[in-house]
Symmetry: C2
Subunit: 332 residues, 2 copies
């Protein structure tokens, strides 16, 4: 009996990226089952050059499945991930359902791979903006403990799913043609516009995306003291998130030390050409596995030398979701 | 002899906005002269429903001119603004040429109107990102002295001129059609992309736009101690800049105090509907005179209560350039 893999939500933006990443990394398995809602069941998707039929996700779907990659939203995960775990499947869940559950490890392989060992059947994949941030920030936190992060994000449509990407393209056509637009998937017009992230605002005025960046980073860093504030914004970009990150270290840290720490960091590529004005951009990070880091400079507003500024960009669907989950599965 | 007004750079994006603002505000004058380069001389533009012929800018253009609004770039200003001032014209200059000159007042009417009185023939209009930031930040600095600002910008194409706006639209057409794009006006592809601001990077790693935000704010606030760091980014938006602003006050300041200070502040409109997820957006600030302010919240990363986060958006061509200059002229 070989290894049996399942992908839940195989027709979504992240699900499709799961299949690309599994193929590109030649992930070892003997059998694969592609699951989705009843609506998508019976459809055919191409994987490794061969047609695969989507099966309907049911309570019995996980019999004999060793690893299941979930990306079908929080309510599907809350219902089916415990069932799968109960049937002996190890679930890597891309939803937010179990991320802050103390029993569930939350893992970015470049940050806290050892946390995987404590799993009880479910391992959570962090929020995309969080993953993209922690890959370059973790080696700096190891260089010198970080006291505080001030982050502003520039988030792509893909984070809201495949339909949001389609909406951005169609809406842009309409705006260019002078036609009126009616946002449907996202709450506001995205074409030639930007808006505060479309997640609910909590009592403290932070939206859920921002709160995830705070709480998930603390959990993965095993550091409840790191202070984080974020402003999450959607911009008319298709599939890569960018972030301006202002860091306060607990001691003076030089730009050179930061460059050295990032040069050897896994999953990071420094793109920082001041003479050519060439820095991380979504069109360069899209479809790539690495988080691009640039604009690295000593923060002039921290005259004690504790501050560093940088600007990063990473593919939301790959490292922000599918790649990270597959990396977790590879470690299993 | 009535009041004689001149507009230098009348065919550019800001120049055209000068004309719109002068008309909308019914700016009082008896004669208007529209000046531009030799290339544009002889062209006709419509102003107040009547055709006006563009005249070539020469050394003799300012005889009898009372007020000249300049927006034709730094080299034109460096050459012609002193000539005009010498001929008795008061110049309101939108370029960066004289902004940091100790003899030249740098003015945002909502911030430091009294500085106008000290002019010696030239008054400088600040950088667009700076103007848009200081309009809502100044009333907060008066509420309680600000120690530090961490700013991330989301800047529109218009800041790079009319041709950059055309390029963004044309490039977006090309990307949607699957055609290759070759950036021309701006250094990188802007359609469905974003990039670090296209100004030269100084020795400290900050680009000129970021340095302007630091230095110009200090000059207008008459406060060399305020600490400011900025990351300036161009996003695929046509004509409004947005900014995420993280504030550290010298004392604890409540969200309520900030709301009250902004409610009565000139040039500011609070747009902050948490229930509807409705906050400042470029499509709402475009073509408007006010700086929209929202996402106002206590900064959770400053547990001593000294911190406030907010997100703003303002029209780059209007308050960021033409409107501010015309407001200065109105005060003269």
């Amino acid at each position: 009996m070989g290894r049996h893999l399942a992908v839940v939500g195989a027709t979504g933006a992240v699900g499709q990226e799961f299949l690309r990443v599994l193929e590109q990394r030649n992930f070892p398995y003997d059998r694969i089952t592609l699951l989705a809602s009843k609506r998508s069941a019976g459809k055919t998707v191409t994987f490794k050059g061969r047609p695969h039929t989507i099966e309907e996700l049911t309570e019995g779907s996980f019999a004999g499945v060793d690893i299941a990659l979930f990306s079908a939203g929080g309510s599907i995960s809350r219902r089916y991930a415990p069932l799968a775990a109960g049937a002996g499947t190890v679930v890597v869940d891309n939803s937010s359902a179990f991320r802050m559950d103390p029993e569930t490890p939350l893992v970015v392989p470049e940050v806290n791979p050892r946390d995987i060992a404590s799993h009880k059947g479910i391992i959570a994949n962090p929020n995309c903006s969080t993953i993209i941030m922690v890959v370059p920030v973790w080696p700096l936190h190891r260089l010198c403990p970080i006291e505080r992060l001030v982050v502003s994000t520039y988030q792509a449509a893909s984070g809201a799913g495949y339909q949001a990407m389609v909406e951005l393209e169609e809406q842009t056509h309409d705006v260019l043609a002078g036609r009126p637009v009616t946002p449907n998937v996202l709450p506001h017009r995205m074409a030639f516009n930007l808006f505060s992230h479309n997640s609910a605002i909590g009592e403290n005025g932070y939206n859920e995306e921002e709160t995830k960046m705070v709480n998930e980073t603390r959990k993965m860093f095993h550091d409840e003291n790191i202070l984080i504030t974020a402003t999450c914004v959607r911009v008319p970009v298709l599939r890569a998130h960018s972030e301006a990150i202002n860091i306060r270290f607990s001691r003076p840290v030089s730009e050179q030390q930061v460059r050295e720490a990032l040069a050897g960091a896994p999953g990071v590529r420094v793109v920082d050409d001041r003479a050519k004005n060439y820095f991380p951009m979504p069109i360069d990070s899209s479809d790539g596995d690495e988080i691009l880091v640039g604009r690295i400079r000593q923060d002039i507003s921290q005259p004690d030398g504790h501050g560093i500024e940088m600007f990063i960009s990473g593919d939301q669907l790959r490292k922000g979701a599918a790649l990270n989950a597959v990396q977790i599965a590879e470690l299993l």
